[in-house]
């Protein structure tokens, strides 16, 4: 014999408590916080470094760097002179809201307009952990295949922006088979409002529309 008890409790609640704390802190100070998610090597750090340099007169950016083992990416951001806090996850495949909460305490948040979080390279796990961010940015690069929205729908469904990176590799004559329009269509099926910017963090192509979106989003937040 046994008896059953209905519980109906949300799991992950420890993480959610910290996420709420982070989003309250960011909300009170009207800071935009973007959580950047992609597979390893899609170009997150390259995009961040270029963005920081190109918009530094307009938008003050700070970075939280999640890395499994090293501080190589944090060093690349430091070279731009933006404030950066490194989180070594020690093997974990995603950042947790508690880790971000600790990192926010170390950043000069009051002096910034925008905080980027570079999540651990992984398209699956980070999408399930809210960090208290204002929005998620998913990066997909041209060498990863145009079937990724179909295979990993969660992150495309949840993101505000999709950056299709490394489009310099798609120039005429290149050996990369990647249909930007297919990615666009599949991502839109999952998420009608998603902004899609094809870019090259290497050549700078397409980056201006991304910068405009950032400028507008920070302004909207600070304006109201």
């Amino acid at each position: 014999m046994s008896r059953k008890i209905d519980v109906g409790k949300r799991i992950l609640s420890a993480n959610e408590r910290y996420a709420l704390k982070n989003s309250q802190l960011l909300g009170e100070q009207k800071k935009l916080c973007l959580n950047m998610i992609s597979s390893p090597g899609s170009g997150k750090t390259t995009i961040l470094a270029r963005t920081i340099r190109d918009v530094k007169d307009k938008i003050k950016i700070g970075v939280i760097e999640g890395d499994i083992q090293t501080d190589l990416d944090a060093e690349r951001i430091k070279a731009t002179e933006a404030p950066v806090v490194q989180i070594e996850t020690g093997g974990s495949c995603h950042l947790s809201a508690a880790q971000v909460s600790g990192a926010l305490e170390k950043l000069p948040v009051g002096d910034l307009d925008l905080i980027f979080i570079e999540n651990v390279g992984n398209l699956v796990c980070p999408s399930a952990f809210e960090l208290g961010e204002s929005g998620k940015i998913v990066v997909l690069s041209a060498t990863e295949g145009d079937d990724k929205p179909v295979k990993y729908p969660a992150i495309f469904a949840k993101s505000k922006v999709l950056l299709i990176n490394k489009i310099d590799l798609l120039e005429a004559g290149a050996q990369v088979d990647f249909d930007v329009e297919r990615v666009r269509a599949d991502a839109r099926k999952l998420n009608k409002g998603i902004e899609i910017f094809p870019i090259s963090a290497q050549t700078g192509e397409g980056m201006n529309r991304w910068y405009d979106w950032l400028a507008e989003s920070t302004k909207n937040l600070q304006g109201d």
Binding site: M1, S2, R3, K4, I5, D6, V7, G8, K9, R10, I11, L12, S13, A14, N15, S92, C93, H94, S96, V124, C125, S127, A128, F129, V150, P153, A154, A157, K158, D186, K189, L190, N191, K192
Partner: protein
């Protein structure tokens, strides 16, 4: 994988209920949406490992995956969203809202009777 963290929260919640009920749990039902990225086998494995030596040792986990729901803008029909066929099954309309993904929930615990 992040299932370890889910398993830890789950263990804490079930242990809590078990203490309140003053009974031994035998199984637990969990439900989640498509976007939670929970792999059943990995979660069960992680849970078994951390539950060793606790009141939850050996309990059975049942995991239900709920499909994402769309709602037709024309006829209001609610339906299971499928990426390979994203339209209303009733009226074929392709304009619909994607409803929020189901959260990860501990639905039910089954306890041993004294």
């Amino acid at each position: 994988m992040h299932e370890t963290m889910v398993a830890e929260s789950l263990l804490a919640t079930i242990s809590d209920e078990a203490r309140k009920q003053n009974a031994k749990p035998v199984s637990a039902k969990i439900s989640c949406g498509m976007l939670n990225a929970v792999n059943d086998k990995v979660l069960c494995f992680a849970f078994d490992a951390i539950a060793k030596g606790t009141s939850c040792e050996g309990i059975r986990l049942e995991i239900e995956h709920k499909l994402m729901q769309g709602q037709c803008k024309k006829c209001n029909e609610r339906f299971d969203f499928k990426l390979n066929c994203p339209k209303c099954p009733k009226c074929d309309n392709e304009e619909f809202d994607l409803l929020p993904d189901a959260p990860l929930l501990l639905e039910q615990i089954e306890f041993e009777m004294e």
